[in-house]
Each structure stands twice: as C-alpha cells, then as structure tokens.
Symmetry: C2
Subunit: 536 residues, 2 copies
Amino acid sequence: MVQTKLTTVSDKKKRTITKAEELAKGQREISVAEFFTKNRHLLGFDNPRKALLTTVKEAVDNSLDACEEMNVLPDVSVKIIALGGKEASVADRFVVTIEDNGPGVVKKQIPNIFAKLLYGSKFHSMKQSRGQQGIGISAAGMYGQLTTGKPVKITSKIDPKRNAMYYELHIDTQKNEPEILKEEEVEWEKDHGTKVTIELEAKYVKGKQSVDEYLKQTAIANPHVTLTYISPEKKKTNFPRVTEEMPAEAKSIKPHPYGVELGILMKMLKSTKAKNLQAFLKKDFSRVSPKIAKEICDKAGVYEKSRPSRIATQEADNLFKAINITKIMAPPTNCLVPIGKDLIEKGLKKEIDADFYIAVTRPPAVYRGNPFQIEVGLAYGGDIPSDHISRVIRFANRVPLLYQQSSGAVFKAILGTNWRNYSLSQSKGALPTGPLIIMVNIASVWVPFTSESKEAIAHYPQIIKEMKLALQEAGRQLSIHIRKRKHAEHEEKKKSYIEKYLPHVGIALKEILNLKQTEEQKVEVNLKKILEKHRE
Amino acid sequence: MVQTKLTTVSDKKKRTITKAEELAKGQREISVAEFFTKNRHLLGFDNPRKALLTTVKEAVDNSLDACEEMNVLPDVSVKIIALGGKEASVADRFVVTIEDNGPGVVKKQIPNIFAKLLYGSKFHSMKQSRGQQGIGISAAGMYGQLTTGKPVKITSKIDPKRNAMYYELHIDTQKNEPEILKEEEVEWEKDHGTKVTIELEAKYVKGKQSVDEYLKQTAIANPHVTLTYISPEKKKTNFPRVTEEMPAEAKSIKPHPYGVELGILMKMLKSTKAKNLQAFLKKDFSRVSPKIAKEICDKAGVYEKSRPSRIATQEADNLFKAINITKIMAPPTNCLVPIGKDLIEKGLKKEIDADFYIAVTRPPAVYRGNPFQIEVGLAYGGDIPSDHISRVIRFANRVPLLYQQSSGAVFKAILGTNWRNYSLSQSKGALPTGPLIIMVNIASVWVPFTSESKEAIAHYPQIIKEMKLALQEAGRQLSIHIRKRKHAEHEEKKKSYIEKYLPHVGIALKEILNLKQTEEQKVEVNLKKILEKHRE
C-alpha cells in the first residue's frame, strides 16, 4: 500500500513539471573559452592561412608592448618551421616561435597570461598599447591545442640573477582555466625576455595578407624595433632599427567626462572614494578642475557637497546631461603616442619610391571618453603605378591591419573625401585613382575594432571625422604639389615649344627680311628673350 | 640600529622588484560583461538606431524559440513607446516591450537568463534555434542600463495555476552577475508567457534596416507566427499567421565526425563514458555504425577495444586522420528545420508581385561537424524594377539579417555565381541586374556569424559552395523561364507581324490576281494558316 501511494505521488509530480522547468535543466553558464572555440573566426582563426598570421601577430604585439613597458629597445625574432617534412608552400602544420628581450612574466602569472582568455593588465588601464583585451595569445595557444593537441610552450626570465621558467600549458576550455602539463626551472643565456612556441595547423602563403607583409609593415611603423624573421622557407630577413630613440612612454589617464555613459557614471558614483560630488568629478575624471566640477553640479541642480553614493538615478541623469553641455578641455595628450609626422615620412620614404611625401598628425580628439589621435601619410608619384586605384595601408597603435580593408572607418573616411578637390580622379563610391599610397594610423587608449580579430576600426562618427580632416589636410598639400608639378610640366612644354620653333622662325624672318647669318642669330636670341620674358 | 637595518632590507627589496613583478600587479581577470560593455559594437549596439533593432530582435528571437520549444503557435507582440514627450522621429529614449505566449522562465533562472552574459540552454545543444550564445537579451538589458540607468523588467508565468513572477534587474558588469532590484509575485491573466521591458537610448528610423522591416521579413520566413506591432508612431500593424501548422520540431543531435577537430576529439576521448574506442565512436557521434567505427580504428592502427582515456596524442591524431578518410553518411536531417520550398514560394508571393517564383531547398551538408542546409528563393519580373541590381534578402534560421550584406557568405556566393549563364546581365564583381529578388536562408544547428551581433555569415567554403549550388539550381529554372518568356515575346512579335501585314498582302494579291472579295478572304485565311504553321 505504502509503495503504491508513493508511486502515485511521484507520477503526479511528473505530470506537474512545466515546460519552463524542463527547459531550466539545460540552462547554464557558458565559458568564454567554449564561446570562442566555437566562434574562433571572431578572433582571426577563420582559416589556416589567417591562423598563421594571427598567431605571429598576437605574439609580436605582446612582445613590443612588453619591451616598451620596460623602456628597452625591442629585439624580436620570429621563426616559423614547416612540419611533416613538407615544403613550406604545401605544409599544413607549423611550429611558430617568437622570442623577445622584454621584462618576462612572473612565474605565478604565466599560466593565466598564456592559457586563460580575458586575462591581462591592459584592459582596465587607459593607456595606449597594442594588445587590449587579454585574449590574443591565449586564443592562439587554444587554436594550436585544438588543431594539433599540442600545448603552448613558454620560457620566461624576469631577472638576470634567477633562472628562467619553462612551462607547457593546455587550456581547459570548459572552465577557461590553464592546465599545467610541465613546469620547470631552466637556464637561459639572456638577462630577461619571453619565448613562446605554438604548434598549429596552418598554411603559409605570401602576398598582401601574409606574415611577411605584416612584419614589413610593422618595421615601417615601429622604426625603433629590430625584427629578425626566419620564414618557413628558411629564408632569414633582418629589419634593423633606424632609430635608437624609444617612443615616448604612454601614460595612463583617467576617463574624460565627455562620452562617459550614464550607466558608467552611476557605477563610478557608487564605487568612488571621494567624499563629495565636486571631489569625485575632479579626482575620478581627467580635465575637471574644482571650478568646472562646481559648474557641472550647478547646471545639474545638485549640491556639490552631496555624497556621491547618495546620488539617485534622476540626479545622475541630470549630472550626465550637465557634463555634456559644459565646456571641458580636451583630454591630455600624453596617454597617446603617435608615430609623428617625421617618422611617418621617413617610414614611407624607406619603403616607397615616390616623388612626394606628406604626413599629418591631428590633435587628439575623444570618442566615448577615449582620447585618440589620427595620423595620415601620403606618398605620390615615382614608381607607384598611376593607372590603379590607390593603395591603403592601415595601422592601429602601430599594428598593421591586413584584413577587411573595405569594412572599416579608414575606408569610409577615404571614400567620404572628395579627392577631385585635390587634383586626383575618383569614381563614385571608389578609392581615388592615381600613383598614390594612403597610410592611416589611429593611436588610442582604446581602439574600437569591429571584431576581436582586430581587423577594422568601427564606424564611430568622431573617428571618421578626424580621419577625414587629416586626409583633407594632407590632400591639400598633395594638391599643391600636383598643381605645381602640372604647372611645371606645362611650362616645360611651352619652353620646349620655343626651343623647337624659334630656329624656324629665325629662318623665316631671315628669308623675309633678307638678313645676314649674324643678324639672323641676333634676332633669334632677342626673340627668345622676349618670348621667355612673356612666358614668365 | 634595528630600525636602520630594517629600512635597508626594505630598500633592497624595493630595488630587486623586477619590471615583470611590477607588471604582474596589474594582471587580472576581465569579466565578459566588462568586455562587451567596451565592445558593444560587437553585439549590435554600435549606434542608437541599431540598438533599437537589436533589442527588438533579441527579444523576438527568444520568444519564437521558446514557443517552438513548447510546440505552441507563437503570438508575439512588440510595443515601442517614445519618451520625453517627443515625436517618434526625434525622440532619443524609448521603452520597448515584447510579450509572448511561450513557456515562461522558472523563477530561479530569470536573473541569470536576463542579466548575465553567456548563460543559456542553447549553446551546448546541437539543435537549430534562433538564439545560440546566451548573450543577446542580457546584452540588450545591459545597454539599456548603460544608457538610461534603468533596470530590465521581466514578467514570467510558467503555470496557469501559479502566479506570475515580476523582476527588476541590473547586471553587475564587474562580476557578470545579476543584481535583483525587485522581486515579487504578480497576477497575470495569461496561462503562460514572458514579457520583457527595456528602456534605452535609441533612434527610430524607417527603411531597410528598421524594426518595421525586420518584423515584416520575420513574418515572411515564419508563416506560423502571429505578430502584433505598435510602432513609436502609435500605428498598430498585424501580421496574422497564414498556417496553423507548427514547423517540424528540431531534434538535438550528436556531433558528426567530419570536421570535429583533433583538440575536441581528444577532449571527448578523455570525458566519454564509453568503455572502449569502438563504443565511443558509435555512441558519441552521429552516423557511426560499429562497422564504421571498426574501419576507423583499423585505418588508424589503433585497437578498437582500447580504453578511450588511454589514447595518446599520436594515436588520437591517427584516429582524427582516419575519420577524415572514411566514408561516413551525412548527418541526420531532423535536427534542421528548413522553411521548405512551398512556404518560401508562398512567402515570396505574399510579399512580392512578380511573374515567376522558384525555391530550392538543398540537402543538408556539414561544416566543422555542424549540419546545415541552404535554401534559395527567386522572384522575377512583375513589379520588380528591372533596371536596378537585384535585391537580396538574407535569413539565418528564419531570422532576417538586415546589416552587413556585402561582407557575408551570401553576398560572396551570389557574386561567385555567373548569372549571365541564366540570361541575366551582371557587371564584373557586382550583383546581377534585372527584375530579381534573391532570398537565401541557412538552417543550421550552429550558424557561424561573423560577429556576435549576427549580421553576416562567415566565409566557410562548404557553406558558400552549398549556396552557389542552390543559386545555380534556382538560376537554371529561372533561365528556362526567361528564355521561354523571350521566346514567347519573339513569337508574339512575329505573330503580330503576320496579323498586321496579312490584310495588306491580301489586298495586293487581290489586285494582282483580280480576285473577288470572298476569294480574297479565303486566300488570306489560307495564307495565315500556312504562315502560322511555318512559324511553329
């Protein structure tokens, strides 16, 4: 009896389970590593060719950032070996090793930095750097593991007096946590630095989107770097530094009030250590003086001595609106390290054989509270083919962008510029045609890429506007050059006409006026003088 | 003395802190919510206009998925109200409410589902659904919070016999965890369902990328859905269902061996419950019979009774290679729910006034272990403008894709098809020109979008190939129609010539042969017969 009753209860229970309850059983957390394993194309691992480039790029970017943090001139080597006894062009598996002379990574952090996604130091600091998300190098390791089962191998030395550490790591994608397969102290001849080795399925192809091109463009935009490259074809290339001067050190800044959103403002109000509103605005933002802080509070109708944590949603909304109608100085420049007009022109000259070079570095501007700065370089004429559309070279914080040219802000800004104003031809909706190379660099504490694979810059109106202004400024200079050149060509033509026809005029005059040989020459000289004078 | 010594030690300590140790202090975990707050453009919140569409889209997609899970015909209402007493076209803040008659969400899961990124049931199941990442609706709520400070509001009822639950939620972006601001039982007249309200900064614009267009296209690809829409202009639109039949239920499947990567295979070998390799291959994959499993093991040179957890990296690699050279049946179709040839043609007919409609549903194929199926519909002639390039309508699992047309696989497949073979004109690198609308739908257990904002499909070669095949098949049908039409037009012309000139010929003959009226008519009729016969 008892048993029967129990069964009935259990049956009833079964019947009352709703669809929502059934569905709830499957609802759970998704690890970010699982997410990116499935969505690897978001990180630049769409195909074997791109995977090779992305792996090299992530490691080199990290190396350059690290060396600059330490203020040491970067010596970075890249070595790619084709596996399976195959020729480089047909191999499908490679070992990639990148070595630098940076500060190294402390033992405790090596597993996190190299085998955990969304882990790093750059995300939370408002400071210009190549890496920013704490994803790249771990994703490259994860891709290697996924395609070859092999761990990522790291050697790191942080102090000349201590031994280096050697690690072999897997990533546990279900937890997004590192798995240490091997950990040991090893001897390493250098004082400090990091070496990363990743084995992965990939394809080695040359051309505009190749590792070779990436390294070449990196050398252009980073004249203080020495790069050594051993290609899968075992060819060694050296890109020696052309300046011994380190770029200015990038400083961390506080957020600028313009562009900070209401939701962020509310979060900051809750977590600030400042005792009152005025102090909060001054201390937690850049470019807010006590006077400006008071002005903002007054405009918002909020007492400036209020406790920040006590500010209600409506008051926060008022503050937010007040900020955006108050005149506040542009953010400090020292968080940005543009390449600079001179070095851009040098870089272009080194690489491109042209008649005319011009570079423009715009003053810093702000999008969503993030300072950024646009630089443009143009190279015109010379060996550049004149019947093609212009070539575009894009950089973000000195990192070459090789993919998705047509979907980013740079492309939009170039298309949105009327190049016919600058003596160039341009079809509707197309890049200008002519012997022109356009280089654009954005320097920012936070570059808004259209995807995590960092290929193109998102269409923020402020960014596109600055790019257009820089392009226009450079375009005007170029236009002056082109017009001068055209004028000179025109003059040259006229002059050559005079040279060519004058003797005939002389002969004609001689015959008409029946002049002597000496008289004829005299007339000719005089005539030339008159004509030249007139022409000028 | 002691003090001095201590100071010295501390000084020494300070001196020996390496750069790596200094940097380590800043190295820490980044929450996925912080990541997506900064990278909101990845989720479709680039600008206020798109934010409105994305918010509606995420909520409607969830509602449709939920109703289909419960096998109930979806009744979904969308209401958008402009705030601040402004006209819809100039307002900058809106309240969006989406309500459905789905199963609801259990109390315990409401905060996670609506205020935690990467949380859901769809990611880990291999089953066709609109949502897949567990990001969308939480991201919409997060965007609302960021721009207005307001919480997301949810009402959910899972059982006619119980009260509904009402929640107001914030998301703690630093932890990616929900914050419950309000939680209460409320009465709600319906039996079950979910209502979500989000207040956000946005912009209401009509046109090809609008909420209005999204709902219209959703109605086309989902003929079993009834949609009610109250626009910010307070206009009410009804899209009633045209079929009472639910789409076939999508089944969950196991992964197909083709395309499963080495890394994934190794992970599966470690965590399987199967006792030996043969059983593992049979149980954990779809379409692997014991015979096929044995064949794979033999080809790999691995004993089929080995314990899966004991398989070493090299053996796993051999198995991986063996899988890819073994003939295995295509994955089961029942995990995919295409719209179907008939309903596509009906949908197109309902929406577009054309002369000719054709739809093609391809058999399922596989990319990276994920089954997918491509459908193409063409509408030609009629009211479609004939001097424009073709219009493209894209869907993924019946969800309209309104952005980034030119960067996805659909565009590439259409450009890669030679439409001149199908009697259409096409400029190099352009869409075909003519009175043509091209509709493409991909049905898959996992649609590989190029970004989390789900705008375009990534360039997987297998997907592009299937799209091309479907386009070609439809193109051939279209070509037959166009040629027939041209032929008919030609015939019509010839016929009209006969009709036009025959009487004159009759008159001429009459005069030449001096015929009577009756004879003339007789000759004319006979002549016409002969000519018509000849023409045919």
